[in-house]
């Protein structure tokens, strides 16, 4: 990757910023299927990848795209797919496979309204719970959120870093507004960007166990073709990667898949706080809505209302501690979001009834106006 | 070729791995020389002298249980 745009300022769509972030993160494989409003990620990489030897492929459907990135990742390639609501539903089975087999990969979902075909060109945040629980079975997962083109760029890089570090699929959620808004992105010097690559086995092939029990719960999967001949399966398996019916081993495996994320939550979770220190009203908002929330905070402050904002950059694992800390300080929490209260529910749980939690949900395809948030805050005060 | 001929004149050594044999009878049914029989639900070598080393039993055993040398 050349350094030709180091430290430069560029105008980009959120979707394009994702593609650029992926390139910097070292992603060299993309498989996808056309879908609004995420297609620009694929289009951008279809131009860039062949020029640098990266691999692009348009698959026959969403399911195939998800399968292909898992296959490619097992050859050692950092792999990406991008989709939206209906496609995200179709990918769920193989996302579960990546969780179970612990294959790092990144899935970008530029959220549009649902259910079903819903609103292909209008924004929503209706997939935040699906991102957590969309695939069947107990599992841990990492879900990031971006609220601007700048964050789309940075969060894509972080998504790859977390995927490689924790050997897990990572989902990055944008909404249609973020995906399609063209705005300024500051691209830092590449030498200043942290890049994480998956561990390589230290032992010889004959001593190698792909799913060896380790203290950090993270497996070490050698790329196919490097002399480590092991088995990967979606069935419950033991340390060797072969299926097992041993209940003790099965129990341990599922526990570990969940624990792998939970025990590293502090490393994964990231929140941004705006004027929260003295706030009496706390807002919890993510994605494009957090931008309306930020301007609502400023308007409130002008009016003498002490509002503050907690913006989770990581939706899952959910930032429970941060929400509880806010709940203990403020008099009420407002959760504006482009769904009927999917994250408000988590906020309520995490705040342990310390304060009332007010939902401000919108599901008609319109963005949330800062004035709506201000009005609700005024009502609460 | 001379070597091969003399090798094939050696009597056949037919081995059956009883732990892996599932008793499907395929080897017995299709042996052209009736070398094999079933006994107690497993294949058994009955007339090794008649074996012509056609290898069909080894090739068709689904369980890697029979070998002919």
């Amino acid at each position: 990757m050349s350094n030709d745009h180091s430290g430069r300022i560029r105008m980009m769509q959120g979707n394009e910023a994702c593609a650029e972030g992926a390139l910097v993160a070292g992603c060299r494989f993309f498989a996808g299927y056309p879908i609004t409003p995420s297609t620009e990620v694929a289009e951008h990489l279809s131009v860039k990848f062949p020029k640098i030897g990266g691999r692009f492929i348009q698959m026959e459907d969403e399911i195939a795209a998800m399968g292909a990135i898992i296959g490619a990742s097992l050859t050692g390639m950092k792999s990406l797919t991008a989709t939206s609501g209906p496609g995200f539903s179709l990918k769920q089975e193989n996302i579960g496979y990546a969780c179970m087999a612990e294959v790092p990969c990144v899935i970008i979902n530029v959220m549009r309204g649902g259910p079903s075909t819903g609103m292909p060109t209008l924004p929503a945040q209706m997939d935040v719970q699906q991102a957590r629980w969309g695939t069947h079975g107990d599992h841990g997962i990492i879900v990031l959120s971006a609220s601007s083109a700048q964050e789309s760029y940075e969060q894509t890089i972080r998504a790859f870093n977390l995927a490689e570090k924790y050997m897990t699929p990572v989902i990055l959620l944008l909404d249609e507004i973020v995906g399609h808004t063209t705005e300024k992105v500051i691209i830092p010097d590449e030498s200043k960007i942290e890049i994480v690559n998956r561990r390589k086995p230290a032992e010889k092939p004959k001593d190698y166990l792909p799913y060896r029990e380790t203290e950090d719960c993270i497996p070490t999967l050698a790329p196919f073709g490097t002399g480590y001949r092991y088995n990967v399966t979606g069935l419950c398996h033991n340390e060797t990667g072969f299926p097992t019916n041993d209940n003790k081993i099965i129990g341990k495996l599922v526990h570990r898949l969940v624990k792998k994320i939970v025990m590293h939550a502090d490393d994964i979770i990231e929140v941004k706080k705006t004027m929260l220190d003295d706030a009496e009203i706390g807002i919890f908002a993510y994605g494009s809505v957090s931008r309306s929330a930020r301007s609502a905070v400023l308007k409130c402050r002008e009016m003498g209302i002490k509002a503050g904002l907690l913006e989770p950059k990581v939706l899952w694992p959910f930032p429970k501690k941060e929400v509880l800390a806010m709940a203990r300080k403020v008099k009420a929490i407002i959760v504006p979001e482009l769904n009927m209260g999917q994250m408000a529910r988590e906020v309520e749980l995490a705040s342990r009834c310390a304060v009332p939690v007010h939902k401000l949900g919108r599901v008609d395809g319109n963005p949330i106006d800062p004035r709506e948030i201000v009005d609700m805050i005024k009502g609460v005060v | 070729m001379a070597e091969e001929q003399s090798a094939s004149k050696k009597p056949a050594v037919i081995r059956i791995k009883l732990e892996w044999c599932k008793g499907c009878e395929i080897c017995v049914a299709f042996c052209p020389k009736k070398v094999l029989v079933m006994e107690g639900g497993k294949a058994k070598v009955e007339n090794p002298g008649d074996c012509i080393k056609c290898m069909l039993c080894e090739l068709r055993c689904p369980d890697f249980a029979i070998t002919v040398e």
Binding site: K51, G67, A68, G71, T75, R229, N231, L235 | E69
Partner: protein, 271 residues
């Protein structure tokens, strides 16, 4: 005697397949074909879907990937496109490849990506207990066709040919020598290759269709899977209900990963 032990994961034996299941016969033919073609186990990836045949990778000592139902071909496409140096073999069944995975099969054939698909056709869903599949013959009984199947079956090889596969063959486990030969030819082919292997499922298919014993099913294959040379001399009447075996399609055409590589080179050198 062929030394299978060099190629298998012996500790996983005896395998899980039923007595007389043809899957083990195919597995052995694959191992012999691999030896013949001289490909390195380190550089070979075997990918499978879900079903009885898809348990094959667990028994071979290579890079093995047991995926989700119907999806072996997309995973394999990712492996091959990710590292074109690897030899990629897909093990799949009639249900896995022609029902839930049918879309992937035709598109991989159309794309002509260099993977070898070994499709075990036993006319039934074995692992789930004998439900009818897209290849169950009309009139045959299945757990979900208790009065006989009223649907017409797929001609699986014909489907792959129509979709653009560069090599298609049919084989059966009675005629083991031909089975091994077809697999070896498919492995050697640069491009999408498919071998449809007719193989008995005594447990889920045979028992419902008056062929409960493995021997009966092998006899049925002996009498109904007809080598190409003989097939050519048969009348329409004689062909009815029988299947032609041997090479059904063999052409050279541009292969996907090679075409992609050409694109990369031309963009880099401006040529």
């Amino acid at each position: 005697m062929f030394n299978y032990l060099e190629y298998i994961r012996e500790k996983n034996f005896p395998h899980i397949w039923c007595a007389g299941c043809g899957d083990g016969i195919v597995l052995k033919a694959i191992l012999r074909a691999i030896e013949k073609s001289g490909i390195s186990l380190d550089e070979t990836v075997m990918v499978s879907g879900i079903g009885c045949s898809s348990r094959t990778p667990g028994y071979v000592d290579m890079n093995t990937l047991h995926t989700t139902h119907g999806r072996a071909i997309p995973f394999a496409t990712g492996v091959k496109h990710g590292n074109p140096k690897l030899n990629v073999i897909v093990i799949t069944g009639d249900g896995d490849a022609t029902a839930i995975g049918g879309n992937h099969l035709i598109h991989a054939a159309r794309r002509n990506i260099d993977i070898t698909v070994l499709l075990y056709n036993n006319y039934i869903y074995g692992m789930t207990g004998g439900q009818c599949s897209p290849t169950t013959p009309t009139g045959s009984r299945a757990a979900t066709a208790p009065f006989g199947n009223i649907e017409p079956p797929f001609n699986t090889s014909g489907l792959a040919i129509a979709a653009g596969a560069s090599f298609v063959a049919r084989a059966d486990v009675y005629n083991v020598a031909n089975c091994e030969k077809m697999i070896a030819m498919a492995l050697a082919k640069k491009g999408f290759s498919l071998v449809e292997i007719l193989t008995p499922c005594p447990t889920a298919f045979g028992r419902r269709n008056k062929m409960a014993s493995p021997v009966k099913l092998m006899e049925w294959l002996r009498d109904n899977a007809v080598p190409a040379a003989k097939w050519k001399k048969m009348t329409e009447e004689e062909r009815r209900g029988r299947m032609e075996t041997g090479v059904l399609m063999d052409v050279d055409k541009p292969e996907y990963t090679a075409e992609y590589e050409k694109l990369v080179t031309s963009l880099r050198t401006g040529k």
